[in-house]
C-alpha cells in the first residue's frame, strides 16, 4: 500500500512542482542570506560567532544560539525560515490524500479490500517518506553550501548539527503531516480539506502568538497570566526546538510525537467509521 501511494505521490505533477518549489525557494533564500551574511562569516570563527549571536538569539529561545553561532549564519537562518513555511507546504502537499479519493469515489476500490486504517497508514507513510527525503536533501544542500562560507569548520560537529536539524525538522513534519491527514480524513472534497487545514494552521499560529505575547509581557516585568500557557497547546510553539539545545530538541520532538499521535488517532477514528 505504501509503495503504491509513494508512486502516486511522486507521479502527481502538483506534488513534484511543490517539491521543486520548496527546494528552489530554500536555495534562493539561502543565496540571499548567504550574500548578506558572508561578511560576518569571513571575519573568522570567534568574530563571526560573536556577530551571529545577536541574530541567532532571535531565532531560538534558549542558550543554543552559542552552539548555533559556530555554524555559518546562513544555515540556521534559512532552516528556521523553512520550518516556518513547512506546515503550509505539508498542507499543500497532502490535503487531498483522502478527501479527493472520497470525493471521486475511487477510495471505494481500496475500501472494499483493505482496512480503513491501512489506507490511512499507507497514505500517511508515503507522505512521511517524501518529506523525510526532501528534508534530508534540502539540509544536505544547505550544509554543503554553508561549508563554502566557513572553511575552518569542525566537520564532525557540522555533520552532527545537520543530523539534529533533520531530526527536529522530521519531528515537526510528523506532527503537521498527521494534522493534514486528519483534515483530509474529515472532509469529502479537496477544497474543504485545504480550507480546514489552512484554518487549523492559522488557529494554531494565533494561539502561539497570543501565548507568546503574554509570555513576553511577563518577561518584560509585566504580570504573569494563564494566557502564557495556551501557546503550548499549539504545535507552532515547538518549531524553534529543532534548532535548540539537546533538551529543547528532545522536548520539541516529544511534543510533535504527541501532537502527531493525537491527530493520527483522531484521523483513524473518523476515517474508520465514516461513510466513503
Amino acid at each position: 500500500m505504501t509503495r503504491t501511494e509513494l508512486l502516486r505521490t511522486l507521479r502527481n505533477a502538483r506534488v513534484l512542482v511543490l517539491l521543486l518549489l520548496f527546494a528552489t525557494s530554500t536555495a534562493l533564500v539561502g543565496l540571499l542570506v548567504g550574500l548578506a551574511t558572508r561578511g560576518i562569516d569571513a571575519q573568522g570563527p570567534e568574530a563571526a560567532a560573536a556577530a551571529s549571536a545577536g541574530i541567532l538569539g532571535l531565532l531560538v529561545g534558549d542558550d543554543a544560539f552559542q552552539r548555533l553561532s559556530e555554524l555559518p549564519l546562513m544555515v540556521p537562518v534559512v532552516f528556521r525560515a523553512d520550518l516556518f513555511f513547512l506546515p503550509l507546504f505539508i498542507a499543500l502537499l497532502g490535503y487531498d490524500q483522502l478527501s479527493a479519493e472520497v470525493g471521486t469515489g475511487s477510495v471505494r476500490y481500496l475500501a472494499v479490500r483493505a482496512r480503513r486504517g491501512s489506507i490511512l497508514a499507507g497514505k500517511f507513510l508515503a507522505q512521511a517518506v517524501v518529506m523525510g527525503v526532501l528534508l534530508a536533501l534540502v539540509l544536505a544542500g544547505l550544509f554543503v553550501a554553508g561549508a563554502g562560507l566557513r572553511p575552518d569548520l569542525d566537520l564532525v560537529a557540522y555533520a552532527s548539527a545537520a543530523g539534529r536539524f533533520w531530526a527536529g525538522g522530521a519531528a515537526l513534519a510528523f506532527g503537521y503531516l498527521a494534522l493534514t491527514a486528519l483534515c483530509s480524513a474529515m472532509t469529502s472534497g479537496p477544497g474543504s480539506s485545504l480550507l480546514l487545514n489552512v484554518g487549523a494552521l492559522f488557529a494554531f499560529w494565533v494561539l502561539d502568538a497570543i501565548g507568546g505575547r503574554a509570555a513576553l509581557v511577563h518577561r518584560m516585568g509585566g504580570p504573569a497570566s494563564w494566557v502564557e500557557g495556551v501557546r503550548w497547546l499549539s504545535p507552532s510553539a515547538y518549531a524553534s526546538g529543532a534548532l535548540g539545545s539537546t533538551t529543547t530538541l528532545l522536548a520539541s520532538t516529544a511534543a510533535y510525537a504527541v501532537f502527531g499521535a493525537v491527530f493520527l488517532g483522531a484521523a483513524w477514528a473518523i476515517f474508520r467509521f465514516r461513510d466513503v
Binding site: L7, R8, T104, G105, Y109, A111, V112, D275, V276
Partner: protein, 311 residues
C-alpha cells in the same frame, strides 16, 4: 443455508433524508439477484451498505455471514463495481489492477490482473492511463477489478450503463457465465437485461421494499400469459371453459390475455391447450409472452415519481 446477503430492518439516513426505511430482504447464495426501483429508491445506498462503504443507522446487515465492513482475516470475499467511482488517475491500468489483485489476496497478482482484463475483453489497455479510457472502457476496467480475488459475492451497480451495445452484450455474457458459480447482485436501468439475467428481484421505492421474490413470482410467469392474435375469430367461451383458465380478455389490438387459476395445472399445459383450441379454429398467432414484463411489474408497484427505472 445462510443468505449471501441479508438486510434486517435496515434504516439509513442522510441528514433528514431517509434513504432506506426498515428494509429487509435476503439474497440466496449462488443466485443472480436484481435490485431495481426508481431514482432515489435506495439501490445505491443498499449497495454501499452491503459493500461496507456506508454504515446503517439501525438494523443489521450480514454479507456471507459477516459484518460487511469487516476487513480482517475472515472478511467476506466480495467484489464491487461501484457506481460513478472514478478510477484513480495516478497509475496505469495494469499497475492499478495488480495492486488491487495483491490486496484481494491473489497469489500471482499481475497474472490475475491480466486475466481479469481479458475477461472484460480489454487486454490492450494494460499500459493505458485511466483518464485516457472512454467511459465504457473505464467501466469495464472497473468490472475487471470487481472480479479480482474470485469473490463469492459480486455487487454490480449499473454494470452496462454507458456501454455500447456490443460491450453491453459482452458484459451480459460474462455475467451469464457467472451464474451458479457465485452470488451476483445487480442494479440496472435495463430491466429487460435483469429479467434475462436474474433469478430473483427486490424492488425498492422511496427507501422501502415494495416487492421481493423470484423472477417467476414477480413477473407472474406461472400465473398469466398473453398471445398476439393477427387474424381469426377467438372462441372466448371455449377458452374460458378450459381447465386451469380463470380469466380470458381480448383487447381491440388483438392482445389475448389469459390468467390461470390458483389450482391450474402447469402453465405449459394450459398454454398448449389454449394454442390447440385457437389453431383448430384457424386463429393466427404472432407472439406468446409468459407473465408480465419486469418493466411492467416495476411500473405497477412503484410510484410515478421516477418514471425511468434508474438511480
Amino acid at each position: 443455508m445462510d443468505a449471501a446477503l441479508s438486510l434486517d430492518t435496515v434504516t439509513k439516513r442522510y441528514g433528514s433524508t431517509v434513504a432506506l426505511d426498515q428494509v429487509s430482504f435476503q439474497v440466496r447464495p449462488g443466485s443472480c439477484h436484481g435490485l431495481v426501483g426508481p431514482n432515489g429508491a435506495g439501490k445505491t445506498t443498499t449497495f454501499g451498505l452491503a459493500a461496507g462503504f456506508l454504515r446503517p443507522g439501525t438494523g443489521t446487515i450480514r454479507v456471507l455471514g459477516r459484518e460487511p465492513h469487516d476487513r480482517g482475516p475472515f472478511r467476506p470475499r466480495i467484489g464491487v463495481l461501484p457506481q460513478d467511482a472514478d478510477l484513480p488517475s495516478y497509475l496505469d491500468v495494469g499497475t492499478l489492477l495488480t495492486t488491487w489483485a495483491r490486496l484481494s489476496g491473489e497469489a500471482r497478482p499481475e497474472a490475475a490482473a491480466r486475466v481479469a482484463l481479458e475477461r472484460v475483453q480489454l487486454p490492450d489497455v494494460w499500459d493505458a492511463a485511466p483518464r485516457s479510457l472512454s467511459h465504457g472502457m473505464a467501466k469495464r476496467v472497473a468490472l475487471a477489478q470487481a472480479l479480482l480475488g474470485e469473490p463469492a459475492l459480486l455487487l454490480l451497480d449499473e454494470p452496462t450503463a454507458g456501454l455500447d451495445p456490443r460491450a453491453a452484450a459482452e458484459v451480459r455474457s460474462l455475467l451469464s457465465g457467472l451464474r451458479g458459480q457465485r452470488t451476483v447482485i445487480i442494479s440496472s436501468h435495463n430491466l429487460t437485461e435483469l429479467e434475462r439475467l436474474c433469478d430473483a428481484v427486490t424492488v425498492l421505492d422511496h427507501g422501502k421494499v415494495v416487492q421481493d421474490g423470484t423472477m417467476a413470482e414477480i413477473t407472474r410467469r406461472a400465473a398469466e400469459f398473453s398471445l398476439q392474435i393477427s387474424r381469426g375469430d377467438v372462441p372466448l367461451p371455449e377458452l374460458r371453459a378450459l381447465p386451469g383458465v380463470a380469466r380470458v380478455d381480448l383487447s381491440p389490438s388483438g392482445q389475448l390475455g389469459v390468467r390461470l387459476s390458483p389450482d391450474a395445472p402447469p402453465a405449459d399445459d394450459v398454454i398448449a391447450a389454449v394454442l390447440e383450441a385457437l389453431l383448430a379454429r384457424g386463429v393466427r398467432i404472432t407472439a406468446l409472452t409468459q407473465g408480465s414484463s419486469l418493466e411492467q411489474r416495476v411500473l405497477d408497484v412503484t410510484s410515478g415519481s421516477g418514471a425511468s427505472q434508474s438511480g
